[in-house]
């Protein structure tokens, strides 16, 4: 039987069929759907699997590793930058013999599409000598998950599965097997019967699949020899023989030149290192097609293909509005950012990782590094400003899930050192960016059962933060006042002020108010709302030269009324 599913569910399926016993993860695109997939398949198959969202990747890895040491089959899931958080324990785990099995799934993000950096999990694994699998499709990812977990048990060492987002988020009909009965079909090595000696292709992951489609398009499938790699470490010896049997070899892989670096021979091996391919980023269909054609030219093989630029040339003359991602209509974060900017336009704004990184477009995030960076950057700025005797207000922001993930030692450290900054915790009681996973405050487990809820206020107080205020971000004037007061009332002994801007995620609650927001009538066309608030429901009517609220998108939160200078004027008149 086959079932249509995304790659992450296919991985979950493979793990459940391999009878995984414990699974721990921290959500992060593109890895977030694996744990919910395990929960679903375990329920369907009546398999008892302990599944948990851990507070961060280090916790997830160690929980899984502990279970594996004891003899259980364990899995832990994260995105590539999450592996950085788990790195100390991952590194250490390689020195130990495990009695069970441990599959670490670290999902990479070539591009990157939803991360701050690309990074290649395979690179780390190759350097450390860890077995790492690089599947080319959802079906293959299911096989790799199944095979990888069992292999780990056999080796007594962790094994890593590295899908990219094009595997994790591709959809394919994946074959289902009974528990313990998966027929793994992982075929590495020579593909097809290409006999051309001028050049050959080594490829892994999604790039392998794309290569095969490109060769079909160009009619080269019977000519060009292709060597497919799934196990990037340890690398199959035959790939070296493959290289040595040909005049030239080009390597297609994502994201870094890992296989290519192993194969590298000057003048013979082509890829990201010698400039025929870009040295970073996703290998799109167009990039791979272009490189294959270039290799054909280099090797004297005729190929029929004409690049067409007509459409792009015409499109280049038409203005297409850029459509960057925005916070949703009615998002409480937008109100918070507006209030922060309004309260203190001259502040320096360190931000953090989540939906609210989008605060950049509202001018209320100046700089961010990684999860938890907001607090530490604020601390760093504070020590410099103190030293130089400058009085620059510092207004940092972070979400509730990220706060629990990466800000606890940070805020304690700042409190102990009496740092002078205001931290706004945007508390929507959910991990929104990655698909609505519960946070420690939510009081729910990964499979929806009740558990202890950890109070944000109590946590802050225990960590030594003396001043904590809770405000509803929809009360924009109150929030502006609270921020202003916090910034002006610093005493030397205080340490950081924390303002909790608390309101549930609208996307999660699917809330809508049945009221029409009337900005259109009073609008004078100043565009202040577009510039400072930038709600997706706002459009500018170029004919009438005034704002138009898109009633299909507007949720009726009414926050924009605080932003409109006309509205406050007319309201004052009424009063």
């Amino acid at each position: 039987m086959r079932e249509l599913m995304i790659g992450n569910y296919a991985i979950a399926r493979g793990l459940v069929e391999a009878k995984v016993e414990i699974a721990a993860a921290y959500p992060g695109t593109p890895s977030s759907e694996i744990l919910p997939g395990i929960i679903e398949f375990a329920k369907r198959e009546n398999l008892d699997v302990h599944c948990e969202w851990s507070v961060n990747e280090k916790v997830a890895f160690e929980a899984a590793f502990g279970a594996a040491l004891y003899g259980k089959k364990a899995a832990c899931m994260m995105k590539q930058v999450g592996l950085n958080v788990a790195f100390p324990s991952f590194f250490e785990s390689l020195e130990r013999e495990i009695r069970g099995g441990l599959l670490l799934v670290s999902c990479d993000d070539p591009g990157p599409l939803s991360s701050q950096t690309e990074q290649d999990t395979r690179m780390v694994c190759s350097l450390l000598g860890v077995t790492v699998l690089d599947p080319s499709s959802p079906s293959e990812a299911a096989d790799c998950a199944y095979y990888g977990l069992l292999l780990s048990k056999k080796l007594g060492k962790p094994v890593v599965l590295r899908p990219t987002h094009r595997v994790s988020h591709s959809r394919e009909a994946v074959r289902l097997y009974h528990l313990g009965k998966r027929k793994v079909r992982l075929k590495e090595g020579l593909v097809g019967k290409g006999s051309f000696k001028g050049f050959g292709i080594v490829a892994s992951g999604t790039s392998y699949s794309v290569v095969m489609d490109v060769l079909s398009e160009l009619g080269l499938k019977r000519d060009i020899p292709v060597f497919k790699v799934i196990k990037v470490h340890p690398l199959n010896d035959k790939v070296f023989q493959f290289r040595d049997s040909l005049e030239r070899v080009i390597v297609f892989e994502e994201t870094d030149a890992v296989i290519e670096a192993r194969l590298n021979l000057k003048g013979k091996v082509y890829g990201r290192l010698n400039g025929i391919l870009p040295d970073a980023g996703e290998l799109s269909y167009d990039i791979i097609r272009k490189a294959v054609i270039e290799m054909c030219h280099l090797s004297g093989l005729k190929v029929k293909y004409e690049e067409e630029r007509e459409v792009d040339e015409v499109l280049g003359k038409i203005h297409l509005p850029l459509r960057p991602p925005k916070l949703c209509s009615g998002c409480p974060h937008r109100a918070t950012f507006y209030a922060m900017k309004r309260a203190c336009p001259d502040a320096i704004f360190p931000g953090d990782i989540g939906c609210y990184t989008l605060g950049i477009s509202l001018g209320a995030v100046d700089v961010f590094v990684d999860m938890g960076g907001s607090v530490n950057l604020a601390s760093g700025f504070d020590s410099v400003f103190k030293k130089e005797g400058r009085d620059i207000p510092i207004l940092a922001s972070v979400g509730d899930s990220t706060f629990f993930h990466a800000c606890l030692p940070e805020i304690y450290d700042a409190a102990r050192k009496k740092r002078k900054f205001v931290l706004v915790i945007m508390d929507n009681n959910i991990t929104a960016m990655t698909g609505m996973q519960p946070t420690p405050q939510t009081g729910l487990t990964a499979d929806g059962k009740r558990t202890n809820s950890i109070s944000l206020e109590a946590t802050l107080s225990a960590l030594g933060v003396k001043n904590v205020k809770v405000v509803d971000p929809y009360e924009i004037p109150t929030l502006v006042e609270t921020i202003k007061n916090s910034l002006s009332n610093f005493e030397a002994e205080d340490g950081p002020f924390v303002i909790i801007a608390r309101r549930e995620c609208l996307l999660h609650k699917k809330k809508k108010w049945e009221r029409d927001i009337e900005l259109d009538e009073i609008c004078t066309g100043c565009k202040r709302c577009l510039k400072d608030f930038d709600c997706p429901s706002m459009e500018f009517d170029e004919d009438k030269k005034r704002i138009r609220i898109n009633r299909d998108l507007c949720v009726g939160c009414g926050c924009c009324l605080f932003v409109c200078p006309q509205f406050s004027k007319t309201k004052k008149k009424v009063e």
Binding site: R2, L4, I6, T29, P30, L113, S114, S136, S137, P138, H165, R166, H169, S170, R171, E172, A173, T206, S209, V210, M212, D213, V214, S216, E217, S284, Y285, D286, R289, E308, E310, V311, D312, V314, L315, K317, I318, L320, P321, R323, P324, P325, K326, L327, C328, C355, L358, M433, T434, P536, D552
Partner: protein, 190 residues
């Protein structure tokens, strides 16, 4: 020997507006007929109202990615996103775009004609709004596409896919919008 067959569809639209559901329904329809299919979606940041592209390939294909000049069909769930991806349309391909306009930019329209691309303009938002479910304009586009009768994306097959994926009131409304889109397609083509 079986004849090689493949069909590549690029779905372009705005995050959170049903592009993903549309591409899933296309895949379902292929799989129901025993045809191999693979699709690729964009998640994360792009879902927050940004540009979204969802790719569907069925038949003798391996990867979910589409090259420029390779897409048999471009389904534009929003006009500017449709235009942004137009260079992926192959010669002799099909373009369906959700727009209230009666014609696109004339230079572009001429060029598409020259390249043999059949272009269809459809006010899917209007159809969906009339049924009280603005977010479901994707169904009108799918309905229109089904009127072209290209296997395996026929009216009956896509309708069955919708019935399998949706339930209750949502199913009722979505189906209605899908049917309206289909009718528009039939009218247009006489």
């Amino acid at each position: 020997m079986r004849k090689r067959f493949s069909m590549e569809i690029l779905c372009a639209g705005i995050g959170g507006r049903g592009v993903l559901l549309a591409s899933t329904l296309l895949l379902d329809s292929a799989i129901r007929k025993g045809i191999y299919g693979i699709g690729s979606d964009e998640y994360g940041m792009s879902q927050r109202g940004g540009s979204v592209v969802s790719l569907v390939k069925v038949g003798d294909v391996k990867s979910p990615l589409i090259g420029k000049g390779k897409a048999d069909v471009i389904l534009g769930f929003e006009e500017s996103e449709f235009l942004r991806n137009l260079s992926y349309a192959k010669r002799g391909g099909i373009g369906i775009v959700n727009t209230p306009k009666k014609a696109l930019n004339s230079t572009l329209q001429d060029l598409l004609e020259k390249r043999g691309v059949s272009l269809y303009l459809l006010d899917a938002d209007d159809i969906a709004r009339r049924e009280g479910l603005y977010q479901a304009s994707n169904m009108a586009v799918l309905g229109f596409f089904s009127s072209l009768g290209i296997e395996p994306f026929t009216f009956e097959n896509l309708r069955d896919s919708i019935c399998d994926r949706l339930k209750g009131k949502m199913l009722e409304k979505n189906l209605k919008i899908f049917e309206k889109g289909f009718e528009k397609g039939r009218e247009r083509r006489g």
